[in-house]
Amino acid sequence: MTVNVERPIAVRRKLAAKPFSRADRLFFGVAKAAAFSAIVIVLLILAFLLSRSASTFAEQGIIDFIFGSTWDASLSPIKMQLWPMLWGSILISLIGTVLAVPMAISIAYFIEFMAPKRVAKVATLVVDLMAAIPSIVLGLWGAFVFTDVAAGWSKQLNALFGFIPIFENNSDNFLRSPFIAGLVVTVMIVPIIASITREIFSQMDRDIINASLALGGNRESTLRKVILPTAGGGVVGGILLGLGRALGETVAILYVLNLVFDTNWYQILESKGGSIASMIISKFGEAGPEEVGGLMAAGVVLFVFTLIINALASYIVAKAQPWRK
């Protein structure tokens, strides 16, 4: 029998793309509502913040508000400028990330590639548990236990490396510095980054790792030249997620940092720093209506900044692994 395809082509029919049964329709409805409400909530929050802060942005000027360094509610007219706090948030997050990344990657590597199964299970649990510690608890621990210890480390760092500008300290006060706040943030974001990195590692093709070892690579070169480049996008995504949390951290930093409206550019051991979120909460109680507007505006800046970081995270995760379709 021969096949003749030269007949008229069958008419293209409609396919059922929509839910058919009642149960399916209900399920689709619920899922859709949930998804849209998430978007609506974010937009509503942004709208609320913008409406309450619009006057601040108008009176202070957007550029001056973000990049100026004076915040004084006793002046008339009131002057509100955010930069020392914005920079402080960035500095603390950078310290936290720089310290957390190697630690988190090591933890993930240990759990995924070294530990026996039982140890790996327990370690995974502990890391996830660490991520669940409320930040107020970490703040209290930071204030009452950790600050003194870390101040001791700071002194030693200063004694050994004081000639490097970032380790300068001219006040002999090592408490409540960006360095200590950065360490507390490290404790908070290590589990986030470790958990995501471990997940990415666990999804990696073991054959590629084996190939590296079979070619005479050792564990270190395999991690550096094969595992990290292959898992890179996911790991960077995890790091940026941790960074997002670090930027938004409020209470824990409030307890361990001296908030000063005088930009501390790099002297991380000085008892002087900034953090938008902590500043908002520390000023909120005594703020007059006009200053509250300024705090809302600070919230907008933080919100947008965090949004940018998160957008960057998802972009990198999606784009950095072209071979994963």
Binding site: P116, D207, I208, A211, A214, G216, G217, N218, S221
Partner: protein, 259 residues
Amino acid sequence: MTLNDSHLRSEDVNVWFGERHVLKNVSLEFPSNQVTALIGPSGCGKSTFIRTLNRMHELIPSAGFGGKVLLDGEDIYGEGVDPVKVRLKVGMVFQKPNPFPTMTIKENVLSGLKLSGRKSENAIELVETSLRRASIWNEVKDRLNDPAISLSGGQQQRLCIARSLAMDPEVLLMDEPCSALDPGSTRRIEETILELAPQMTIVIVTHNMQQAQRVADQTAFFLAEDGNPGYVVEFGRTEQVFEQPIDPRTNDYVNGHFG
């Protein structure tokens, strides 16, 4: 075949995973410049055995080992022997083509050097000779900087062979190198094996009886019965194992009666 020709030799190799004894007293000789095929039904331990020859099996956390593997007379499990050094002499090609996805074709060929922290004076030359030896040079010479994953499956596998050859190993282990490939690619790989055979010792695990007959000088038949550890039922010249097997189970297997 005398013992002195034997470049690689296993003596009473036993392997355990946790409490499970998976290989029992495997003693095989792999003469220089010959191809040895390891055949047998799934789960008989041949893939595990081939991994004992470059100490890859010990990457599984619960793995245990007994016996000896002698490479040029030296026990690769001897005290003070670095498994990483063993793997420099004994290369491996895996079942599934596994080029490094983040690297280009050229980088893949040179990856072993980078991973083992060595420098090559003639990197460009090494890329060409390695790719030529794996008979893929003509297909990729104009696109050495393309990502390795842009190649077809068969080309990727030959790239993986080239990657191993760049390290100039004395022994090349191949664990079912064609099982993920189409017949055309399989034929190319087999030709490559035959071209390489005069220069090195090759051990290949295969499920394909015709393949064993086409490429191997000698063949070992592995079997694991009812949860017992795998062992070698028969080992000899390939023609003999296939045409006049001594053990009836070998006869059944090579003629497709089970497995």
